[in-house]
Point group: C2
Chain length 244, copies 2
């Protein structure tokens, strides 16, 4: 682990990069202990404060965890799917909110990936997955549900659908797409009629998965995608009319 003496970047950034590279390259493996802050400071010839800033950068990416006390220190962290989900969701949400990504584009991406899950979900869905989906469908039919609660339930429904595909890598990748869409979906006012339509489509999806009918599931998802896009266009048109 060496830092480039010609770099213009902050020392803490350089040190973080050096350690990160060592982890990615496999020189440091899960649960390995890094040298203590004092030792790292000596190795890199910087102060302990600078080392600490570097370590905090790595901690922010869940690459290391720290433990206080004797025999404590910084350890290479096993990045769990759970943590990776979280980071992916934060990143995706910010990406969408900061880059004026259109509802249309986000929708397309999300449903394209979800449809890719459908065949696997039809094949592998467990009774548990179906039960979760049915429960969310039921909730979505309750009157008096706020739009936000409706959207949250929608996210839960779709996560169950994705998880039903039984591929954790796919679940991880899709977590971002599905959850990051929620703020955009929250901007839509769901009328009683549009909710009814969505619930019916969810019902079709659940029925298709229960019957292990991948083609029906795909068709229902496509219809849902079309309908969601239509709702989005409606909102955009209403806003345009208000503003001009």
């Amino acid at each position: 682990m060496k830092i480039d003496p010609n770099s213009t970047a902050d020392l803490s950034a350089q040190i973080a990069k050096a350690i990160r590279d060592a982890i990615v390259a496999g020189e440091l493996i899960v649960d390995d202990r890094l040298p203590s802050e004092a030792e790292l400071a000596e190795q890199f010839e910087v102060s302990r404060a600078t080392v600490r800033e570097a370590l905090k950068r790595l901690a922010a990416q869940s690459l290391i965890r720290t433990q206080r006390g004797a025999f404590g220190g910084a350890f290479v962290n096993r990045l769990s799917f759970e943590e990776a989900y979280g980071q992916q969701i934060t990143t995706s949400t910010l990406l969408l909110s900061m880059n004026a990504v259109s509802f249309e584009v986000a929708c397309e991406a999300r449903y394209a990936m979800e449809r890719a899950c459908a065949p696997m979900a039809a094949e592998r869905r467990s009774a548990d997955h179906l039960a979760t989906m049915r429960a969310e469908i039921h909730r979505q039919g309750q009157p008096g549900l706020t739009d936000e609660a409706f959207c949250a339930s929608d996210v839960a429904f779709h996560r169950a659908l994705v998880d039903a595909a039984g591929n954790p890598v796919l679940s991880y990748q899709l977590a971002g797409a599905v959850e990051a869409m929620q703020p955009l979906m929250n901007m839509i006012t769901f009328t009683a009629r549009s909710r009814e339509t969505i619930v019916q489509l969810h019902q079709r999806i659940a029925d298709a998965l229960e019957a292990r009918a991948e083609d029906l599931a795909d068709q229902a998802l496509q219809d849902l995608a079309d309908y969601t896009r239509e709702l989005g266009r409606g909102v955009a048109a209403a806003r345009a009319a208000r503003n001009g």
Copy 2:
């Protein structure tokens, strides 16, 4: 922006969370300047060192950027697709390498998503995308290419395919899946014959996109997925034989 006095987490983590929440909630928008480190230290009633550790955490997630000098400071960063790609790739790569994700599962996820791109790519691919793909195909046919260079070219080919779908969100989501697979792919020794097969399949994909034939593209991708999985199984079997 307040921190929870009952939390047991590090102060720097709490402060980072408070600022991150403010950004996600939209209280701080792109290019807003945060208070100076000295001011933040006063607000949160901590030392400047602690504030700096918090800011480094946020910088590691590309949420802020800092600028030295008068009228410098920490600014809310517009998370670009580029930066998000990078983070996604790092995270995905580590996730796969640290969690013993099987080649099979990673492959399945990757090709499922790639196939979801095929119809859009067939419809929207530009001459540029095609040219990139053709160039990579040509490179892959060169004799004397190392396995790593072959894999790198493979990644470039598939990225062009994904980008051809013309949906940046999809490109971002897939960047992780495609790039993170590379270390796993690098473990495969590509014989002259397997390379030839792969190049032919790439050719079929490029031809299909050129002809805007989404069904042919999908079929070719499925064949490539099957073949890749087969190669993976071959490697796994060889390793099992060596170790047993």
